[in-house]
Amino acid sequence: MRFWLPAGILAAWLVMALAAQFLPLTPNAIELPQILASPSATSWLGHDDLGRQIADRLLIGACTSLLVSVWVVGLSLLVGTLFGTSTAYHGGWWDKLAVQLVDIFLAFPGILLAIALAGLLGPGIDNVVIALTTVGWVGYARLSRAQVLSLKHREHVQAAEALGSSRWCIMRRHLLPLMAAPLIVEATFGVAAVVIAEAGLSFLGLGVQPPQASWGAMIRDGSRYMLVAPHMVLAPGVAIFAVVLSINLLGDRLRDKLDTKMTAKTGTPS
């Protein structure tokens, strides 16, 4: 139960996002007689302020949030890990400069820099990905740097160095496999954070372009009609909440299982 319910919700999220590509959905079809209609037998989740099917928009929204979170977490993980690993392994002035750079990015609280970037770059999925990756890579860089610093004096790394392995080979074969567990845990929580962040940007009107559906934009539209059509706010909100809660629950289990000491999560400076 404690595993299968969140796992099932996440599976449903994936299936919804993938199925949205193939199902004959009409997320932008405007039905004027149905404006703000409550859920009924023919439309499970009712209609929004323009008479569009909320169920269809919810499916497209699942696709948007999955797409953004896969891209942002993937890119952040790649950039952050490469940056953190290479600077920490190299050491010297290059590492000092890297620490300073990471500190500067961390000085912007939370999602603020992403809000400013998305606002200046203009709406659109690609700009959301750019804005959130600009903010997101730093956490992985800091985590992988701390890991490499503790690993690079291990005997097996020294043995590889003595054998004349190349720097790239040592990083890939001898460091990365040992760093994988904490990075995977961090990335799991990262997905939850990105789902909220994407919806947040869309809620502020800085995310996807208007006809395109996003859970955050749906909440934003719905909050204007709360008294007459609360179902407009409830459906996308429950979706975000269920997905994020499931990721957090599974992330906790994963962390206990892999037993990593998450310094990044509690915010202790590395």
Binding site: Q100, L101, D103, I104, A107, F108, P109, G110, I111, L112, L113, I115, A116, L117, G119, L120, L121, G122, A192, I196, A199, G200, F203, L204, G205, L206, G216, I219, R220, G222, S223, M226, L227, P230, V233, G237, I240, F241, V244, L245, N248, L249, D252, T266, G267, T268, P269, S270
Partner: protein, 309 residues
């Protein structure tokens, strides 16, 4: 202590310089010509040239940056394009509202997180513990921009206890503060729990128990005071999340603070104002972190003697 202080201040100055540089560069990231984006297509050539000159965009980048730094040192944040007023004046006008909201959220957080965390630690592995931590998990997963509308729906529209939005009277701060404080409560109550559990295993707690002190006295005087140190550090770090969350929460409730000003500035393409808002929030965050570190070093000698990080 002095060498730690100097070292920490120098580090903070470097970070501040970096933050200022990034905020300065933000305007140069706008695709296309920023002047055209700000004024729209209907603006005359003369207007464009005038704005370009007043923003210094016709100068080389290095000269612009030095000019920007120079003006910042005189607290001159430029003029709002849209409202034609000094940006610093606009910021000062909005500052009290954000200050009030942040303070109220912190109060909500402490009122909820301390009892929840202590309860969960003292009654570890009971249904109290599961309940408190489950509540904290729910709080961590619910986004501000959904919790806000839900609270409005229940407490303003259905029950009519609080105003829907805006800042009118003392009651209007309750819902925004609850919305903003929930996420922090979730993080903090977990921290209080784990920190308390660590302290409750110490020898001096056993001694206090053996002396026959009453339970509440042991928990509040002996355990909590020692458990609070890591909690305070986390609070300082998390204040940033609170400030960034204020942008969304203020938008939900039309709360007239810096966060709402940021969004209004983005929507009206008032870039000097956007820059100033981002800079202001970030610098407050840097300052809070600096003070937390220094206060912590003052309380705990291990940090300043260990040479910091």
């Amino acid at each position: 202590m002095l060498s730690y202080l100097v070292q920490r201040l120098a580090g903070a100055l470097l970070v501040i310089l970096g933050v200022v540089s990034i905020v300065f560069l933000l305007v140069h990231l706008i695709p296309g010509d920023p002047v055209e984006v700000m004024l729209g297509e209907s603006a005359s050539t003369a207007d464009r040239a005038a704005l370009r000159a007043s923003l210094g965009l016709d100068q080389p980048l290095a000269a612009q940056f030095l000019d920007y730094l120079g003006r910042l040192l005189h607290f001159d944040l430029g003029t709002s394009i849209h409202q034609r007023r000094a940006v610093s004046e606009l910021l000062l006008e909005r500052l009290p509202a954000t200050g009030l909201l942040t303070a109220a959220s912190l109060a909500v957080t402490l009122l909820l997180a301390l009892p929840l965390g202590i309860l969960a630690a003292v009654r570890k592995d009971t249904s109290w513990d599961t309940g408190a931590m489950g509540f904290s998990m729910l709080g961590a997963s619910i986004p501000n921009f959904w919790l806000g509308p839900l609270l409005i729906l229940v407490f303003s529209l259905w029950l009519g206890w609080f105003p829907v939005s805006g800042r009118e009277g003392a009651a209007s701060v309750v819902l925004p503060a609850l919305t903003l404080g929930t996420g922090l409560t979730a993080v903090l109550s977990r921290m209080v729990r784990s920190s308390m559990l660590e302290v409750l295993g110490e020898d001096y707690i056993r001694t206090a128990r053996a002396k026959g002190l009453p339970g509440h006295r042991i928990i509040l005087r002996h355990a909590l005071r020692n458990a609070l140190l890591p909690v305070i550090t986390l609070l300082g770090l998390q204040l940033g999340a609170l400030l960034a969350g204020a942008v969304i929460t203020e938008t939900v409730f039309s709360w007239p603070g810096i966060g709402l000003l940021t969004i209004e500035a983005i929507q009206s393409r008032d870039y000097p104002l956007v820059q100033a808002c981002v800079l202001m929030i970030s610098l407050v965050y840097v300052a809070v972190n600096l003070f937390t570190d220094l206060a912590y070093a003052r309380i705990d000698p291990r940090i300043r003697l260990g040479g910091g990080r």
